[in-house]
């Protein structure tokens, strides 16, 4: 036990070093990539501006320097937590992203909760009785769920619930309540009405994936000796299900749900733009279009960092769920 306590921090520190390495490589790639695409001033400046005005802007934004000088300046400032100012709005890039973050996190948390709550029971059901018509219906539904494009599902939901039936709004966050500096929709009824369609759009595909993973895991675990043994012992089916089965299928579910969560946080952009949800994904796309490099770089740095942390959390969860994973770390 004491040995394990020493091992875990080392493993966390290793992960953080990996994160820094990935961030460095990624920032060079993004910097060079955006540099090759074009000159941000050509997107920002009015076509009526003279060359003198363009030069003044380039100078003000630091774009008159060579790419490597620009990169090193960025790196130097980034070490102090300063990711530069947005070319477009003149505001600190990090601040722009952090302002938009609660909306995205809220949307994704609701969507993922929905997908787990719906996906796991349906997946187990389909796994327990693979031949039943209900299971076949679930599996067919899940194929639709993840093969239909996100934006199409979103637009269909809008057509159905907002245009034909007129019971749910089609855009924006609705009424929000401030918790400290963070505005949340989940605390008001109006907020939930606005949240319903985007969360459903985002959650459906994720639920479909979780159904399939859960079903596969269930099918794998059912023929295992310990399940047979538990049955032979005469345990109640509900106990077999909740303890013996569920515990053993959790690992693939946690893996998939965790990765999907990260994916959704970083790139919920399609859902966000269909529902005009004021989250971070929209900010990223707008910034790429206007070549607003400080925002793009800051965003991707944050996301790499976030995904590395998320993977770390998943690994720690593994250790909590799975004794054999604890053994591996110890070796």
């Amino acid at each position: 036990m004491r040995k394990k306590d020493r091992q875990v921090p080392v493993f966390i520190i290793n992960r953080l070093f990996q994160a820094i390495g990935v961030i460095l490589v990624m920032s060079v790639l993004v910097f060079v990539g955006l540099y090759l695409i074009g000159d941000p001033t050509s997107m920002l400046v009015s076509p009526e501006a003279t060359e003198i005005e363009r030069q003044a802007l380039r100078k003000a934004l630091g774009l008159d320097q060579s790419i490597w000088v620009q990169y090193l300046t960025f790196l130097g400032n980034a070490v102090h937590g300063d990711f530069g100012r947005s070319f477009l709005t003149g505001q600190p890039a990090l601040q722009l992203i952090v302002e938009r973050m609660p909306a995205t996190v809220e949307l994704v948390v609701v969507a993922m909760t929905f997908s787990v709550v719906v996906g796991v029971p349906l997946g187990i059901l389909a796994g327990l009785r693979p031949k039943a018509p209900s299971s076949k219906a679930i599996m067919t539904g899940s194929i639709l769920g993840f093969s239909l494009p996100n934006f199409w599902i979103g637009l269909m939901l809008i057509m159905l619930f907002a245009v034909y039936l007129g019971i749910l709004p089609a855009s924006a966050r609705g009424e929000t309540v401030n918790v400290g500096p963070v505005a949340l929709s989940i605390l008001t009824l109006d907020g939930w009405r606005h949240l319903a369609l985007p969360a459903l759009t985002l959650g459906l595909a994720k639920a479909a994936l979780i159904i399939r993973v859960t079903r596969a895991a269930t099918r794998e675990v059912l023929p295992m000796d310990y399940i047979k043994f538990a049955r032979a012992k005469g345990l109640r089916p509900s106990r077999i299900l909740n303890v013996h089965l569920l515990k053993n299928i959790l690992i693939p579910i946690v893996t998939v749900a965790g990765l999907e969560f990260g994916q959704a946080i970083a790139f919920a952009v399609v859902t966000e733009s269909v529902f005009s949800w004021p989250g971070m994904g929209k900010l990223l796309i707008d910034s790429i279009i206007t070549l607003d490099r400080p925002v793009v770089v800051a965003y991707l740095v944050m996301m790499v960092f976030f995904l590395v942390i998320l993977n770390l959390v998943i690994d720690i969860l593994y250790m909590a769920i799975d004794p054999s994973a604890r053994e591996k770390v110890r070796d």
Binding site: A49, T89, G90, G166, S171, V274, S276
Partner: protein, 526 residues
Amino acid sequence: MNFVKTRLAASAAFLLMGALSLSAADLKIGVKSEPSSLDPQFHVLVPNMQVTFAMFDPLVMMDPKLVPQPALAASWKATSDTVWEFSLRKDAKFSDGSPLTADDVVFTFDRIPKVPNSPTAFTLFTRQIAKVEAADAHTVRITTKQPYPLLVTDIANLPILSKAAASGPAPEGKTTVEFNRGEGLVGTGPFKFVSWQKGADLVLERNPNYWGKPAAWDKVIYRPMTNPAARAAALLSGDIDMMEDPPTTDLEQFKTNPKLSVAEAPGTRIVYIALDQKGEPSPGIPGQGNKNPLMDKRVREALSLAIDRKAIAERVMGGVAVATGDLLPEPMFGAVKARQAAPAVDTAKAKALLAEAGYPNGFQITLGTPNGRYVNDARVAQTIAAMWTRAGVKAEVAAAAPPVFFKSRDNFEYSAYLAAWGNSTGEMSTTLRSLVGTREPSKGSGTSNGGRYSNPELDALLDKASATMDDKARKELLQKADEMVLSDYGIIPVHFEVPVWALRKGLSYAARADQYTLPQDVTSAK
């Protein structure tokens, strides 16, 4: 299908009734893009300007057809070639109740060059101004560096701030960040600021101290909705009352939908083809040795004749374009009446001209275009390429994302490219100077002249026009210059984009040629 339509109509009607009874005087607008800042002097950009002009007035305001009208200045006159006097309205008050004086105007002009980090600074409109001073409490005297007839159209872009509200410890007074928080947003306009959540709603309310006719709306909400399909769905569902730029593919349906109405403005943004006339050879024309066929006027005329502009406007643009042969639409200053109608397509004559110029078998050419900068830009370019190919010039389209396109254009990598030019002054000189004036970027001439057309005669005409204070004489000079370029086929106009809005039935909009969405111009038929 009928069932669906009836159902749609019924539920839409139900929703509209609901919306009307609940909030009789709220206006929700789905806009393409939110402002980059609320600082009225930060960024010359349509999303910024349209929000600013709901809260602030300029001295002179462009009407929907881009003709200058008195706003905060009740009248103005040029007292000499370089000195102008503007008399302010005596009844104009700021939203905090304080009266407008000449000091506020002087403060406004003073702040413009001091705003830091501006992506496109408002100095664009003040570069000809030498001095702004208060002659008395209600008279402002502006001195220009040289005779400058466009002063009035330039200052129509400058909203007047309140000196008391927008002063501060920073060199520029209230900073851009403070304006974004809503501080210092005190104007004389029909609405005043309530709240702004970035990425979401910007809320304004009626300004009780407005000097003009009170606006019809208690509250105005701008909601940024970048996705056109999402805007359309929100309008259909009654989430918003008005949207910018309905998708061209839905427009026919919108026009026939009894629950919606559509507003179209005269278009001023000209979509054109620029042709490389710098010299020989040209990068996008292979197989001609050292020759650049585009240097021959007959070839340029052939390329123009081969384009069926009417078909493009009707089919590719879904009717929201006006096919034309001129660079500016007719009532505007310097447009040529005889050039307004689109020249008829004449493939046979185009082929004959090509043969006469020594290209009986045509040649190959690459047509560059941005993809997603202008309405249906890449599709228009593809159609034009097909039309050229029919006339014997084998054209291939190189479509690129806008930043890539601009980079290639600025490096002169295209032999021919499609682009558009929005005229915000309602006056020919800016268009000609930027698009076909000899490229001298430090002078502000030829800034968008990627074809590098150069005609010293034309430059001389433009110089003369820009120093001519007499409107009639200037108009004639500009028309002459316009005619000179067009008959030389120095640039090939295709069509004007028509700005379009869709609204719920019962609302009407005095659609503006400059594409601004101004809530004060939206009215409700009672």
